[in-house]
Amino acid sequence: MLEVSGLVAGYGRITILREVELRVDQGELVALLGVNGAGKTTLMKTIAGLLPSTAGRISFGNVELTGQGTERTVEAGIVLVPEGRMVFPRMTVRENLLLGGVHPRPRPRRDATLRRVLDLFPLLAERRDQKAATMSGGEQQMLAIARGLMAEPKLLILDEPSLGLAPLMVQETYAALRRLNAEGLTILLAEQNVKLSLAASTRGYVMENGRIVLTGVSSELAHNPLTRKAYLGRL
């Protein structure tokens, strides 16, 4: 479904990604692991079209996404829930959600999608007229995910969804992600929390210094000493 090959990207003259290879198939929940600075966020931003690439290819289904902006990525069905949640702080929950479905592709079904998303996250339904800035980190994370769902994604990419959340909210966020995946949504998940993301995912990639250094089935990655090395820098 998502095919990334030989991808080189970065900020200005600084190259972060060095020939990244990554694949996500229909229905999978794939974890992308790596320490802070390994290049996970850069990779996700580049896939989403927020950052330009200097070499390599990104394709989705049979759509070529290399060098296309976010407008085309959303059109194709890839939606990124960014690190730090990035909700619109001075807008209500409802307005945030409406914006999630503002793209011309999902727009015609927006009212129905909104009802479905609010059913999925009853807490957001209760808070629909509350300003996003006044909510807790966990609630904002939920809003960010719900806002992403409003665009009717075929592939939902999440960057550090558990970052800065209370343990209970982390559990709840992951329960929601597992449920969405079980319903057929393909998910690519970047996490520093190895245990959690490997438990939730079917396959995983480990990133180090802008390269994919290890890939495999999640249960095997969990026991692979190289995974630990990538995190701790030594065995």
């Binding site: 702080p89 001075r90 807008m91 914006l99 503002v102």
Partner: protein, 288 residues
């Protein structure tokens, strides 16, 4: 001081305030999508007023009739200007953008000077020198109609900003540009339209208030200055704040010149600005 005079000044202040509110609101619209303070904002309005003058002298069509056409022309001018000039310069930073708009001030003011000379000009309309008398108030028709248009446009724009997808996209870009891009919002397109609407509103407002003003090439910067005071008083980037700020500054200016005469009275808006910022550094409705 007789109550009637006070009331008269207050009403006149509110009417000027509505006009200030619209100028400030359209400037806030331009500001909100690109973080650009358009120092040439008032000059676009001056240009629209001179446009009404040209129209009157050449075709004898009344300024009120030309307003919708001026809206369309200025909308196109705004979109074109944004796409061809502002957007590329903004990519180099907001400071470069501010310098650009300062440059536009000189371009427009000198263009007016070259084309129309430096004399004071009045543009007659069907409503010139007519008053509506509602005892004890005497209201000049040009101001009444001009401010009514401004008030309606300001409220309409506010409703569009708060209630429509277009308005939500503008606010989204202002609040978090990257997040807006991730929704698939076409940032450049929305920015260009917002810029066009902001300039277009000036194109409309210029002719409908032209009878209230004496035209001179440097009048634009005065309007920009007032709009800046209004924006900062109300809270920079806040749409509602711009409207409330406009009314406050309008009334303050009017009552100020009533109590203290023209020179000292003209300082009252600045005094209000300082006073507001002392207690609310982000303006009346400013957040962050």
């Amino acid at each position: 001081m007789p109550k009637e005079i006070l009331l008269q000044a207050a009403v006149q202040g509110l009417q000027m305030g509505a006009i200030y509110a619209l100028i400030a609101l359209s400037m806030t619209l331009v500001f909100s999508v690109g973080g650009l303070l358009n120092f040439a904002h008032g000059d676009f309005m001056a240009l629209a007023m001179y446009g009404a003058m040209v129209d009157y002298e050449a075709f004898k069509i009344d300024a009120y009739a030309i307003a919708p056409i001026m809206f369309a022309l200025f909308f196109l001018l705004g979109v074109l200007l944004f796409r061809r000039v502002v957007q590329p310069v903004l990519a180099a930073g907001v400071l470069a953008g501010a310098q650009l708009t300062l440059g536009l001030v000189f371009v427009q003011e000198n263009l007016i000077l070259v084309l129309f000379g430096g004399d004071y000009v009045n543009v007659p309309t069907v409503l010139s020198n007519r008053n509506l008398v509602v005892p004890p108030l005497v209201m000049p028709w040009p101001l009444l109609v001009g401010s009514a248009f401004a008030a309606v446009l300001a409220i309409a724009l506010y409703v569009v900003l708060m209630r429509t997808d277009f308005g939500r996209q503008i606010r989204a870009i202002a609040q978090n540009r990257d997040a807006a891009a991730l929704m698939g919002i076409r940032i450049g397109r929305i920015q260009a339209i917002a810029f066009g609407v902001g300039i277009g509103l000036l194109g409309f407002t210029g002719p409908v208030i032209v009878a209230q003003f004496t035209l001179m090439p440097t009048m634009g910067l005065d309007l920009t200055l007032i709009a800046l005071i209004v924006m900062v008083t109300g809270g920079l980037g806040n749409f509602l704040g711009s409207m409330i700020g406009g009314l406050i500054i309008g009334v303050a200016e009017s009552l100020g010149s009533l109590f203290y005469g023209g020179t000292v009275g003209a300082m009252i808006p600045y005094a209000i600005l300082v006073f507001v910022l002392l207690f609310r550094p982000h303006g009346l409705l400013g957040e962050h």
